[in-house]
């Protein structure tokens, strides 16, 4: 590692170019993190464009002085600034330029001052500064620098940048705790991530490392994968479990008789200072695993016989606490909300879709395999809510769910009597959970009352009705239990069924859940029919993947 303590204009330029390159490599990744303030997925691109603006302004010039360089760069970055993140970044750079004003070369102290100035400018740029964003990451970066430089007045740029980036990574990892929208989406702040990528690039440029996507991979992963949970071991924690200490020791001829040395010497010592000992010897190499409170003593002791090839020491309290935290998370995994929705459904397509439109817990079951009261109780237990609304979605399931509702005492359970998939869909589609529970239920019941259910299936026998005779194997259209249409052609059966629907002139929408056996060509045909024969109705198709019924229509 070099020990850079001063930078001139050209050197600083190289660093920023490194920052831009690294950001560009990760721009897509940063884009995908973007949920705040508007989830339009452009943070990484915007920040790259902003820096690119700076680079365009300085590209063909030579800069002896950092001050001159920073001025030109900052002007270009401002002109290139795009998006909120870009504007904030450009202002940070403007602050840097102000901080470097008059500096031909810069020291770490100049860097710190300019960084701090950048943070001030960045906060100024935003109408309502929000914590948990890039602003937090840079501010905490500045705070870290202040302490770090006080502690280590003789440090170099390399060491400082490295530590700064570790610190900003921590800060970034905590952004979801400050900004609920990030936590909800399960991401860290995109602007903050972009900012860190820039400084990682600066660090790499400083150390003379080549910036390529491959080399960066571990870094990139660090962002998306949980790193060590720093909250697991704090200033107040006690060391309960010691350190898991592992190393490979190369015995040294200068220190010991390599051929006669036995690992037992080490094991005897380790038994006094630790436990969980594993020792393996292969000629002049010894591999050790031990749990100890004093890894330093162990290392000093063993070093009298040789030198270390590898070393790994981990605080087991942290690991332990991480496991505890994970446990805690699991119990927290209960669905907590004021109003939760349970529905009984079968078929992967339907289940997935109903979850998408607001069902929290699904009870497995339907037409042929009705769920039990206990199944419902198990579902309720996954929920921590004041109110639970149950949509049975099948007339045969209303009873079991009602019984479960009576038994269950941890929440008020309301059965909204959707007796078909179509009614269940109608209730969910008009659901508005920001209302009071009575109004939510009223809206859902209203939607159910306005919905007719039509289903297409195949007749399993010959039947004669008053106005309709059905042959085995024909397609029939059902509304509840009444057979309203029959035809050898599925599309015709559907058309006649819909046309025979009660109150059709009042309806606005047809939603068709199509079953597992429906082909793409048939869907097209069905769509053509709906368009031509029912031009006043809006329609849409949803892959239900259900068996038995090729189509379930919600006619609303």
């Amino acid at each position: 590692m070099n020990n850079t303590t001063h930078l001139d204009g050209e050197a600083f330029k190289e660093l920023l170019l490194g920052g831009l390159s690294n950001l560009k490599i990760h721009a897509k990744e940063v884009d995908e993190l973007n949920v705040f303030p508007v989830p339009d997925g452009d943070t990484g691109t915007n920040m790259s464009m902003t820096l690119q603006g700076g680079v365009n302004a300085i590209q063909d010039s030579y800069f002896e002085s950092v001050s001159e360089f920073a001025k030109a760069f900052s002007r270009g970055a401002l002109l290139g600034a795009r998006g909120n993140s870009g504007v904030i970044l450009s202002q940070f750079i403007k602050g840097l330029a102000l901080g470097f004003d008059g500096c031909k070369t810069i020291t770490l102290l100049d860097f710190y001052r300019a960084f701090r100035e950048g943070v001030v400018k960045a906060y100024d740029a935003v109408l309502n500064p929000t914590e948990g964003t890039m602003l937090t990451v840079m501010r905490e970066g500045a705070e870290f620098l202040e302490v770090f430089l006080k502690d280590k007045p003789n440090t170099c740029f390399e060491e400082t940048l490295e530590s700064l980036n570790v610190s900003m990574q921590k800060s970034l990892d905590h952004t979801p705790d400050l900004l609920p929208v990030l936590k909800e989406a399960g991401v860290i702040d995109s602007g903050g991530a972009g900012f860190l990528y820039i400084f990682r690039g600066v660090e790499m440029a400083l150390k003379g490392e080549e910036i390529t996507a491959d080399q960066l991979h571990p870094h990139g992963h660090a962002l998306s994968m949980p790193t060590v949970d720093f909250s697991a071991f704090t200033a107040d924690s006690e060391l309960e479990f010691g350190y898991c200490t592992e190393f490979i020791l190369q015995l040294q001829k200068s220190k010991v008789d390599v051929t006669s040395f036995d690992k037992q010497t080490i094991v005897d010592y380790l038994e006094k200072v630790g436990d969980s000992i594993v020792a393996v010897q292969d000629d002049d190499i010894i591999k050790i695993h031990v749990h100890t409170f004093k890894p330093g003593d162990v290392l000093n002791y063993c070093q009298q016989f040789g030198e270390y090839i590898t070393l790994k020491i981990e605080n087991m309290s942290v690991q332990h606490n991480e496991i505890m935290l994970e446990e805690e998370r699991k119990t927290k995994n209960k669905i907590k909300k004021p109003i939760a929705i349970v529905a009984a459904l079968s078929g992967d397509g339907l289940k997935k879709y109903f979850q998408e439109i607001g069902v929290d817990v699904i009870v497995d079951g339907g037409q042929t395999d009705n769920p039990s009261t206990e199944d419902f109780l198990l579902a309720f237990e996954k929920i921590e809510a004041e109110h639970i609304i149950v949509l049975p979605c099948n007339s045969n399931i209303v009873m079991a769910s009602s019984q479960a509702a009576e038994i269950y005492k941890e929440a008020k359970v309301h059965i909204v009597k959707a007796k078909t998939i179509a009614e269940g869909y109608a209730a969910l589609s008009m659901m508005n959970l920001s209302l009071e529970i009575e109004d939510v239920i009223r809206d859902m019941e209203q939607a159910i009352s306005e919905t007719e259910t039509g289903m297409i299936t195949t007749s399993i026998r010959d039947v004669d009705y008053e106005n309709l005779s059905v042959k085995k194997g024909q397609f029939i259209g059902l509304n509840k239990d009444a057979v309203l249409s029959a035809s050898d052609n599925k599309i015709d059966a559907a058309r006649d069924l819909i046309a025979a629907t009660e109150g059709l002139e009042e309806k606005a929408v047809i939603v068709a859940f199509y079953g597992a056996n429906v082909t793409a060509d048939e869907l097209k045909e069905m769509e053509r029919m709906l368009k031509a024969d029912f031009p006043l109705l809006e329609y849409g198709f949803i892959e239900g993947g259900q068996e038995v019924y090729d189509y379930i229509f919600a006619i609303e």
Binding site: P39, N84, E356, G358, S429, D443, A508, V509, E538, E556
Partner: protein, 296 residues
């Protein structure tokens, strides 16, 4: 007294005729289609509304970018050089960060033009909602109000510009993310038209679900009738995304229900259009001050 220019941006949906009449100008945002960037022209220069919305219907994703800093620098400088001040009435800050950039640029230019003034007002509205505020500003300027008086008036009254709109398909809105509601509220629902207002913070907020286009129009008109103030003196504004027929139908309905003086119908420009998608209708009127603040 220095005269001042009034600027909107690509979301204000005022066409060339209106802008000429009002003597106002606008700064352009951009939209990106198939990796190519186009200036978001309110007069559909470069790409027709039909082509634009047909591309969306075909499933092409169109993204938008806020007003670039350079555009602000150029436009502001143009008027400052003429010895004029500038009043920029921006798209709602809940939908676009343009006003942030504008303020930063304004600060920059202040050094070079110490006598010039750039005032930025957050319309807390978009489309004709922002447009109505620009019309107010233009009228006040003709009546001799100062730039500060206009800005103050807008900041006091912007929440009285009421919006009620609905989209044909929820997909675009969901993808653009410029709406406040839970994801379940916006699940892949068919035929559901959430009524969208511009809340007190300028966010698009879904207040109510309605089934079917016809019901949506009826509900929107009912809402306007309840909230409108002095309809007989008002021209109402309807913006539409390639859906003129429905816009005219809505216009007739709202005229009959409220007894308003007239209804003006115009096109939703590319920026708002990219967020709401083809088939969208939005009605604007002056009514009770909006106090609702939407939460997801």
């Amino acid at each position: 007294m220095r005269s001042f220019a009034i600027l909107g941006d690509s979301t204000c949906d005022l066409n060339k005729d209106l802008r000429t009449q009002l003597d106002v100008d606008y700064v352009q945002m951009n939209f990106v289609l198939d990796g190519k960037e186009y200036p978001a022209s309110l007069d559909w220069e470069g790409m027709s509304a039909k082509t634009f919305y047909d591309q969306m219907r075909e499933g092409k994703r169109i993204t938008t970018t806020q007003v670039p800093a350079e555009t602000f620098v150029n436009k502001f400088t143009e008027y400052l050089e003429k010895g004029m001040d500038v009043l920029y009435i921006s798209c709602s800050s809940a939908l676009s960060g343009s006003i942030n950039t504008a303020k930063v640029v304004a600060k920059e230019l202040q050094e070079k033009y110490p006598d010039g003034k750039i005032v930025c007002v957050d319309a807390l509205n978009s489309s004709f909602g922002q447009g109505i505020e620009i019309m107010w500003a233009s009228r006040m300027r003709s009546d001799g109000s100062t730039i500060e008086e206009v800005a103050e008036f807008l900041e006091k009254n912007r929440n009285c510009v009421n919006q009620v709109g609905f989209v044909e398909k929820l997909d675009y809105l969901k993808r653009a993310g410029r709406v406040t509601a839970s994801s379940a509220f916006f699940g892949n629902l068919i035929g559901i038209k959430p009524l969208l207002i511009s809340d007190a913070k300028g966010q698009n907020f879904a207040v109510k679900k309605v089934k079917g286009m016809q019901n949506a129009m009826t509900e929107a008109v009912a809402m306007a009738k309840e909230r409108i103030i002095e309809p007989e003196d008002q021209i109402l504004y309807i913006s539409h995304a390639d859906s003129k027929e429905n816009a005219q139908k809505l216009g007739e309905m709202v005229k009959e229900a409220t007894g308003c003086k007239d209804v003006f119908i115009g096109s939703i420009g590319p920026i708002v259009g990219a967020s709401v998608g083809p088939g969208t209708l939005i009605l604007y009127y002056v009514g009770q001050e909006e106090t609702t603040i939407g939460e997801a």
